[in-house]
Symmetry: C2
Subunit: 373 residues, 2 copies
């Protein structure tokens, strides 16, 4: 480990900026909370940026400060894992707009001394990526060996390759998409409406009294959570099994295990996440359309790209189905970019990328080692 | 048309009961709001019962009293249509638990003189069917030429055949299932939690001041509505098109048409539907498991059944996918029942059964005419 205070767990930095956002606003300063694992080598050529998903955070391989649970991707990152701090310098930052230490609606607006709330500017996936690039400047990383992410993390990886091609040697894009579909937007809109319908939301101005819109946020999480799981996975895990009882109660308790499970997902989520951040990040996802940013043709995003791409989808993922990954691969092929693609089989739907998957580990490991040769 | 006051549009009847419910309670009296179209023939052999879906009602082919819109299945029922009042005596009743005139949580409990609210007993699909059977007794219909329904209406049709086989000459089951899956239950639970999280719900006791939990009910409707449409249908209809603007606003207005559409679905729904009824009917759906009612084997529900069955599914319906209908057909085959089955192609998902579908009309018409021979 280095003595450099920039490196290690539970780091944060305030960058002066300003960062010009896609929406036109200038954001300054920019707080970024992040962690690094491993050691940056002498020519700074072993850096891998991990990009997290909607409700993820920088604790990719360290215990979460609120829940105490282990990092969300210890299956992928750690000693002997495909991304190994013994060999790689791993960086993971809380995305702009989130609530684990990076600038977002729960942060204090220095101009007013109060939380931004809904006056925080709307951000995009590309804004998140630009903030990450500023962090890499701070860390002395000119070029990434790889940028890796699943779900929204995959969108950031794509945006990295499109926005900073010379800084992106390779990109691993898992269970992701190059744009949000109408159905994706629809589910997010349900979640946003659930939050904004909660009287405790109060136009986003709820930070002063510690009484946030947890009921609305829990409903939003429950709706989203269904999209992370496959129908077959839900059936296998829960089916119509009852929860701690032998007969139906003919009431409105959580009779079924799947109800109890969903309620738990909602309730536990609100302990670790901010409702306004949920609004902002879902908005960023819905706005994401990489083709639109490049004249309507996705291939334009990757013209003459020096980046090597690895795309992975899961056959039961109906949030970002395989067809989305295939569309990206077609665009990469049309652009003449180096791309490999595999659809993996899993019963677990979208969530598969976070779960034990020897195949996924093999694919990521093989791709990274091939690039290192 | 008959002069009999039992027959015609906008009818209702109060039946003394009591009706013993699956949950054990005795319900008495039972109000049923219904409509009839056409004339019951001399031997009462031309009666067709139409069963409506979750948020449907008895106005199958007459204008809705609240919205003013035409009946919800005028494509199927009317002069020259497969179900034709010139030939058939058509009955459609508001289901038990609903809010268009039949007994439900918004009805007055005669014991207290106040609305039942959440003291209304939890009901099942079979309870709805038993109430319909009491209505048929009242109307002088011993046996149905056919019972026909889509979605929850199809479940009632199945339950009719299983509960009253001798009264059910044929059953047409469209876009339906013999049990609610874990995913089905999960989506309903999100809706129920959205309603119950609304402070205006007040434990269901909100009828006195005309201030119902419309925000929660709208969110519930929005979440459910997504499941009625296919991903491809949403993409074709809305894609990522913006609503009345050329550029994104970088705000939280309904930038996308699909957001605006969903919000409209939510807002317009609350004008015509009661939140507690939504809780009760979704519960009835989640409890539905025809196999469970018959010792765990679906085929037992149809043993030696005299009923002819017609099953129809739609290829893009992911709420009650074709596999559910196929499972029913297998059970019918195992039981030796007469069953025909067709999967129709439609881009519209579950909602296809309500939309213009010449193939569906042909199937229903052909099946009914074959039975009349």
């Amino acid at each position: 480990m280095s003595d450099d205070p920039r490196f290690g767990l539970a780091r944060s930095v305030t960058l002066p900026g300003p960062l010009r956002l896609d929406g036109g606003a200038l954001l300054s300063p920019i707080d970024l909370a992040y962690e690094t694992y491993g050691t940056l080598n002498h020519d700074a050529s072993n850096a891998i940026l991990i990009c997290h998903a909607l409700t993820g955070d920088q604790h990719v391989a360290s215990d979460h400060p609120v829940t105490g649970k282990q990092g969300w991707w210890t299956r992928m990152i750690g000693p002997g894992k495909p991304i190994d701090p013994e060999r790689h310098f791993v960086i993971c930052a809380n995305v702009l707009g989130s609530c684990l230490g990076s600038s977002g609606p729960a942060s204090v607006n220095p101009a007013t001394g109060k939380p931004w709330g809904m006056t925080f500017p709307v951000i995009t996936i590309r804004d998140m990526v630009r903030a990450q690039a500023m962090l890499l400047d701070h860390l002395g990383v000119a070029r990434l060996l790889a940028v890796v992410g699943g779900s929204m993390g995959g969108m950031q990886a794509l945006s990295w390759a499109a926005t900073f091609p010379e800084r992106t040697a390779s990109a691993i894009v898992i269970a992701s998409a190059a744009r949000h579909s109408a159905q994706n937007i629809a589910f997010h809109e349900v979640g946003r409406q659930a939050i904004m319908a909660d009287p405790k939301w109060r136009g986003g101005d709820y930070y002063a009294d510690g009484d946030p819109p947890v009921a609305g946020l829990a409903v939003a999480r429950m709706a989203a959570h269904i999209t992370y799981l496959s129908e077959a996975g839900l059936t296998a895990k829960f089916g119509r099994k009852l929860q701690g009882r032998n007969v139906k109660t003919f009431g409105f308790d959580a009779d079924f295990q799947v109800e109890s499970y969903l309620r738990h997902q909602g309730i536990s989520f609100v302990e670790r996440f901010d409702a306004n951040s949920y609004l902002y990040i879902t908005r960023a996802l819905d706005y994401f359309d990489l083709a639109e940013e490049h004249g309507g043709a996705l291939a334009n995003a990757f013209k003459a790209s020096p980046t090597r791409f690895c795309l992975v989808s899961f056959d039961t993922d109906w949030l970002y189905p395989t067809a989305e990954s295939r569309g990206i691969v077609h665009a990469l092929n049309a652009a003449g970019a180096a791309a490999s693609f595999v659809e993996l089989s899993s019963p677990f739907g979208h969530d598969a990328f976070l779960l034990e998957s020897p195949e996924l580990s093999r694919v990521v490991d093989g791709f990274l080692r091939a690039g290192a040769r």
